[in-house]
Structure formats: structure tokens, C-alpha cells
């Protein structure tokens, strides 16, 4: 007999796949879109420290890069 959908869920809602939160693109929650203006940027990296979702990307040289809008919820929107 085939199982109902809810019978196939993992016991206790444990997530058995490591790192699977990367599949959950939370950028859709964003209501305000931050904009990085390169010529105004003094590379203080406060934005990098401030972002809890690691949506502020940094280059291999340690310089500020573009936002990762897949996960950015616009919570630390700064002018």
C-alpha cells in the first residue's frame, strides 16, 4: 500500500541532509533591496559583519563584492 505524503516525512522533522539550507533561497522575503554603490564604498566591511545571512560577498582579495540576492532579505538596508 502506498504511503500518504505525511507518512514519508523524517521522524521529528530532523533534516538529514547536511548544508541543505543553501537550497532554501530566502531572498524572496525581501521587501527593500539594498544597493551597493562601488564608488562610495570605503571597504570598511561593516556590511559584511552586519549581515546575518552572509549575503555580502567578498572577493578572494578580501574586497567587497556584490550582494547575493538569493539570500539577502534586505534587513540591513543602508543608504
Amino acid at each position: 500500500m502506498s504511503k500518504k505524503y505525511w507518512e514519508t516525512l523524517p521522524q521529528g522533522s530532523v533534516v538529514l541532509e547536511a548544508g541543505s539550507s543553501a537550497k532554501f533561497k530566502t531572498g524572496g522575503w525581501r521587501s527593500m533591496r539594498p544597493k551597493w554603490i562601488e564608488e562610495n564604498c570605503i571597504q570598511c566591511m561593516f556590511c559584511w559583519m552586519y549581515c546575518p545571512d552572509m549575503s555580502v560577498k567578498v572577493t578572494e582579495e578580501g574586497k567587497r563584492a556584490e550582494f547575493d540576492y538569493d539570500y539577502c532579505k534586505g534587513r540591513s538596508n543602508r543608504k
Binding site: L9, Q11, S13, V14, V15, L16
Partner: protein, 393 residues
């Protein structure tokens, strides 16, 4: 099987059961009247009689949180609490059950504040009715001991994996010395068996996450699945009870019946008050009154169908609640009416609230209830559905 016959309190008996089971982790915070239970257990830890990691925390909320962490890590875990302590655990109780962690918790039933009261009633346990925990209620110290041992087997069963509370009446059972038969250490160990961790966090080769955010797309399905698990509990409770009876000769079920088979009237009451009620039933039986008793043992999940079958033939039922629902019927009464709904016969029913805050339940009160029940059975008329007994007027 070797047994020892000892004179101990309910707390002492439960502590002994925990010692014999030797859990991996206990996290606890003291609260009257459960303090004595974990205090005794902590001396077993101190004396090296168990190798449990005892975590001393700053509140019951933290105690249950630590238990959840330890159980998710893959340990066999126990704690104990009472009253306000259970109330403070409230949000964590749901998390333990929803995460399917088989934590075992003796609950020494005590009244809830306000007014502040340290004595026994079922307000605390009934408040945790909907948390997803299995609840077993015990009449005396022997049952509290036996239920604690059985609870590990039930909760840890791979078809179930939900936490369980083992309830006993505060002071009346927790602090009264009774004759108890202890099972031999090796037999308890064999009965409970080796703990099997399911998806342990400490299995570092298979990383996983506990406690994810699950919103409108799946939460409803998880709750549906959680209910389904509870429907599997009665079968396991009965299997474990059958094994336990083989070992000890002591018989347990989902509930106990006493002189109920040919009864025309029934009293339904849980825990220590059942003992007093049985004595009065004997007296009335001697006078030719056909009355019996039903004592629920497993309150969650509640065995509606089984109880309905056991009460099907009676004309009148008195349900005695040692807890109240202000503005509602007593919690046990509500469940029994739920069971009665499926019967072809519809017995007349009355609800008596008794023994709140440790107020004594006296034989004379059981007699009053029975005298009223005789009239209810005869006339089929109920003057007041819910009343308080033993109230100073």
C-alpha cells in the same frame, strides 16, 4: 527473578528505578515535592552507583532544554519535576515531543499557583495534556516504580519515540512510605534493553540539523504524523505490560477495572484516590450495591474505545477529577464523555471535582458520591453535572 521487598516512598522508588536504568544524562532542577527524587538520584551519581552525567541547571526550562539537547545527541535521558517546574518547561515539552525524543520524566503531581500550594493535585499534568507526551498515572509507589521502568521501553520503542511522563500524587505517594517490591538490577537492565539512538547529532559522519523552521507548506503534515504516532502507543503499552507481567507477575493495562464487570454504576478516578474508592466499593458491594471502578492509567494517548467497551453496560458514571477546568468540566470527565459518545447506551454522568491542593479525599466523600450515583442510576436524572466535593461551606 530476585526481588527485594522494601519500605520506601514513591520518590525513593522512582529514584531506584532510574538508578537501575542508569540513563546517560539527567538534567534537573529541584521543586517540591519532586526535589527528593532527584536529590536521591544525585547521591547515586555522587557515590558512583550510576555513570549518568547529571547536569545541574538554573531552571526547569533549562532542565528540559538540556534533556532535549542530550536526547538529540543520542543519549538515554531522564529528569523529574512537579507543578510550577512543569509549567516553566511548557514550551520545551512540545519541542521534546515534536522532535520525537524519548525523554522519561517522573511528574510528582502538585497544584499550580495562585494561591501558592505545594500539595498534590493533577493541575500540572492536565496542563501538559496536549504537549504530545505519553502520560501514565500511578496509584501508589509500586505503580510509580513499575511505570517508570515500563516507560523507558514504551517511549524508546522504535515505532513510537515520544517522551513519557510517569505521574504520581505529590506527598500522598511521593512522601508516604509503602511496601514496594524492587526488581533485581540485572532484570531491570535486561527488561529495558540497550538504548538505540535514532539520528544522533553526535554521529559526526552523518551531519544533520534538529529544529528546522517549517511553515505553512509542511507544519500541518508533521502534526498529522505526530498524532499517528500516538495511535500506535496503546499496542506498545500493552506489549510492554505483558512482558512486565511475565517478569514480575504484576498486571498492567491501559486502565484498571475493579469489580466493574457486573456493575450497574461506575466511578472513574485516577491515581491514589482509586485506593480509597476501592475500599468504599467493597463496603457497598457487601450491601448488594452493584458498583465498580475504572482507573485510567494511560491518560495520553487516551483509550476512548477501550474505556467505552469497559463502561458500555453501566447505567450511571461518576467521574472524579483532581484538577479543574475553570468554566469547563473536569479534564477526565471531558475524556470520559468523549468515550461515552461512541456507546450505544448513554449512561447518566456526573462530575465531581475533589482534592485540589492536597485536600484529603475521605471515605465519606466516596460514600456521598456513591449515594448520589445510586439515585442517578435509579431516576436517570442529573441535578448538577459538575460539583465540588469536600469543600468547606
Amino acid at each position: 527473578m530476585i526481588t527485594a521487598r522494601v519500605a520506601v516512598t514513591g520518590n525513593e522508588a522512582c529514584a531506584q528505578a532510574l538508578k537501575q536504568i542508569n540513563p546517560d544524562v539527567c538534567a534537573a532542577y529541584p521543586i517540591t515535592p519532586a526535589t527528593d527524587l532527584m536529590q536521591r538520584f544525585s547521591s547515586f551519581v555522587n557515590n558512583g552507583q550510576v555513570d549518568t552525567e547529571l547536569v545541574l541547571v538554573e531552571s526547569e526550562h533549562s532542565a528540559m532544554s538540556a534533556c532535549i539537547g542530550a536526547a538529540a545527541a543520542g543519549g538515554r535521558v531522564a529528569t523529574a519535576t512537579s507543578s510550577q517546574g512543569l509549567a516553566l518547561m511548557w514550551e520545551m515539552l512540545y519541542i521534546a515531543a515534536g522532535t520525537r525524543l524519548p525523554i522519561i520524566m517522573p511528574l510528582v503531581n502538585r497544584a499550580l499557583s495562585a494561591p501558592l500550594n505545594i500539595h498534590g493535585d493533577h493541575s500540572d499534568g492536565m496542563g501538559a495534556r496536549d504537549t504530545g507526551w505519553i502520560q501514565l498515572y500511578s496509584e501508589n509507589a509500586q505503580e510509580a516504580y513499575d511505570n517508570t521502568i515500563q516507560a523507558f521501553r514504551i517511549a524508546e520503542h522504535l515505532d513510537i519515540r515520544v517522551p513519557a511522563m510517569v505521574c504520581m500524587d505529590g506527598f500522598i505517594v511521593s512522601h508516604s512510605i509503602e511496601r514496594v517490591e524492587y526488581i533485581d538490577d540485572a532484570d531491570v537492565k535486561h527488561f529495558v534493553g540497550k538504548f538505540e539512538a535514532v539520528n544522533p547529532l553526535l554521529d559526526l559522519d552523518n551531519p544533520k540539523s534538529y529544529g528546522p523552521l517549517i511553515l505553512t507548506d509542511l507544519y500541518h503534515e508533521y502534526k498529522r504524523a505526530q498524532h499517528e504516532v500516538m495511535t500506535k502507543v496503546p499496542k506498545v503499552v500493552l506489549e510492554v505490560a505483558a512482558d512486565f507481567e511475565k517478569m514480575t507477575g504484576r498486571k498492567y493495562g491501559l486502565f484498571e477495572t475493579y469489580r466493574l464487570e457486573d456493575a450497574e454504576m461506575a466511578i472513574v478516578v485516577m491515581s491514589s484516590a482509586a485506593g480509597t474508592t476501592k475500599d468504599i466499593i467493597d463496603q457497598y458491594r457487601d450491601k448488594g450495591v452493584k458498583v465498580g471502578l475504572l482507573k485510567p492509567r494511560m491518560f495520553r494517548p487516551f483509550p476512548y474505545k477501550e474505556i467505552a467497551a469497559a463502561l458500555e453496560h453501566v447505567k450511571a458514571i461518576a467521574v472524579l477529577d483532581r484538577a479543574d477546568s475553570f468554566g469547563g468540566y473536569g479534564p477526565l470527565f471531558s475524556e470520559i464523555t468523549g468515550a461515552v459518545m461512541s456507546m450505544n447506551s448513554k449512561p447518566a454522568m456526573i462530575n465531581k471535582i475533589f482534592g485540589l491542593g492536597g485536600r484529603d479525599y475521605l471515605p465519606v466523600q466516596a460514600e456521598q458520591v456513591l449515594d448520589e450515583l445510586i439515585q442517578v442510576a435509579k431516576t436517570g436524572k442529573v441535578a448538577a453535572v459538575k460539583e465540588y466535593i469536600g469543600v468547606r461551606e
